[in-house]
Amino acid sequence: MAQQKPISPRVLMMGNEAVGEGAIRAGCQCYFGYPITPQNELTAYMAKHMLEHGRVFIQSESELAAISMVFGAAAAGARAMTSSSSPGISLKQEGISYLAGARLPAVIVNVQRGGPGLGGIDPSQCDYFQAVKGGGHGDYHCIVLAPASVQDMHDMTVEAFRLADRYRTPVMVLADGRLGQMMEPITLYAAPPPPVPAKPWALTGATKREARNIRSLFMAEGGLEKHNIILQEVYQQIKRTEPRSEEILTENCDYAIAAWGTCARIAKEVIQKARAQGLRAGLFRPITLWPFPSESLLALAGKVKALLVVEMNAGQMLEDVQLAVKDRVPVHFSGYPGGRVPTTSNMLSALTLMAQQFRGL
């Protein structure tokens, strides 16, 4: 791999570019992309910098082709990645299902915009269901990471490559247009790329070994069931090991906001404002959306009077929160389903309104 340029400890970067630089520093060897707003800066960053590092960049003819190129490069043992935004991610679901079925590691970045259909180009969190429930056909999951800052965009891209190789599974970084477009100072990842594990399954040419194949087709009787059981065992291992969440001011907390990504970022300010007004508020932020940090949330549910889920959609993570807390605590919801990002005062009003209901009881 080409030598990294000297590290600047702090740089000002746009979220989309921070993803690109994270991928390069994580040892991404092949990037395939297709233009779509609001992630175009990422594809442009890769066009410039992958080639500078002597790595592979192709602007593909479609999202279908891009994810299939990822499939080929991953099958050949390379660290491979693609990125897009909501309508493009729908097209990539075909290939993501094949990647999961063939147990190939790959990184997919979704800088979400509004939907359904063409929707809009404003930030949204409307692809939560698609990302965490599989997305394409078949019984599978991707690991889903939810950044809430430009630093997260950078760091989680590196982490996505590590997790993909660790579990031989596609990993999605689920960002949104706000995170993609905003600029912040970040500290660049300066360590060596996460080590690449041995890939005794990769197609490299059958030199002095038996020929191999990469496939998701299992026609022999019982073969597919056996394969799916192996996949499910991997998913169980991920569910035991990888759920991650962040909690802020959840000690001595009466009302907690549960939010991810951009909404969690806004909620961090909201809970401080609420505390200043005498409301004991806290934040529960899932960092991995799949596996969902259910156990941590359940533990918190026993300590608070109510939870407020805030999302830029019509209530998607809401369902996983409800499943996790098992009716131990009332769950309220405040949603922004049209590409609008809530302000701190929007979110504070929703929190205050919820708290008033409980005070009245």
Binding site: L203, A206, I214
Partner: protein, 263 residues
């Protein structure tokens, strides 16, 4: 005494004239009687032996009758989603440029659902070899109409015969790709008898040799019999290839060393 055992021809060093190619597994193939796939597999295996490339060849076998090619060819092989073989092959070749990469695709895969991938891989001049098996039908799903189904040909999805006014006429892929600048070699051959098998082998040798020499994109279309869905005997199917398919899909070299030579 000049017994048979002592005959001069018998006493001379034994010479192997023909055997199963080393690159072909010794298992029964799932292909129907008279199908062209087994012949194309054999020719490909012979060429991997003769060119000495089996150990650095990676194939792509997408959805279609040949999706199980990895049971028969002793080289590394990847599956691909329907139509995406050229994109998967692109990913493999770009990741490992010194390997020999081929895709092995049917007419529905290559010219319907995968037309975009086909055209753009050719237009980028990817240094891969695309083997296009054109038998005018979707063999795996039951012989439905393909982009290359002949006018008037009956299939389950054109039960009154293909009507070019509502279904379009058959697409000639070699001619279409020949309008692009980057392809290095394009040829169409017909598996209409033993000569056709030799022609297929010669064309594939040219294509693979060009790839070994990093010349760029090579494309070989093989007109191939599908007796099951032609609803003809294997012998009649060869005649169908020769008499019905070749007039619509003329055989020959369309592109040689990057230059269009046959419009």
């Amino acid at each position: 005494m000049n017994t048979k055992k002592n005959h001069p021809a018998r006493r001379s060093k034994k010479q192997m004239l023909y055997q199963r190619p080393k690159s072909l597994t010794n298992v029964p193939m799932h292909y129907c009687a008279g199908c062209g796939h087994s012949l194309i597999h054999k020719v490909l295996a012979e060429l991997m032996d003769e060119l000495g490339i089996r150990e650095r060849t990676i194939g792509v076998a997408p959805v279609g009758c040949a999706v199980l090619a990895y049971f028969y060819l002793k080289c590394d092989i990847s599956e691909a989603a329907h139509g995406r073989a050229a994109a998967v092959a692109t990913g493999i070749k770009r990741a490992l440029p010194d390997r020999i990469v081929f895709s092995y695709q049917g007419d529905g895969d290559l010219a319907a659902i995968g037309m975009a991938e086909t055209v753009h891989a050719a237009n980028r001049g990817e240094n891969i070899t695309v083997i296009f098996v054109n038998n005018t039908v979707y063999g795996m799903t039951g012989g439905q109409m393909a982009p290359t189904t002949l006018v008037g040909q009956i299939t389950p999805t054109c039960p009154k015969g293909r009507d070019p006014l509502t279904m379009g006429p058959p697409i000639r892929v070699c001619e279409l790709l020949n309008t692009l600048d980057r392809p290095y070699y394009i040829e169409r051959v017909a598996l209409d008898g033993p000569q056709g098998v030799l022609a297929a082998k010669r064309a594939l040798r040219t294509a693979l040799t060009a790839q070994i020499d990093n010349k760029g994109y090579t494309f070989v279309e093989v007109l191939s019999p599908c007796p099951t869905y032609f609803r003809l005997s294997p012998i009649e199917s060869l005649r169908f290839v020769k008499e019905s398919m070749v007039p619509v899909f003329p055989v020959g070299v369309f592109r040689k060393e990057g230059v269009a030579i046959h419009a």
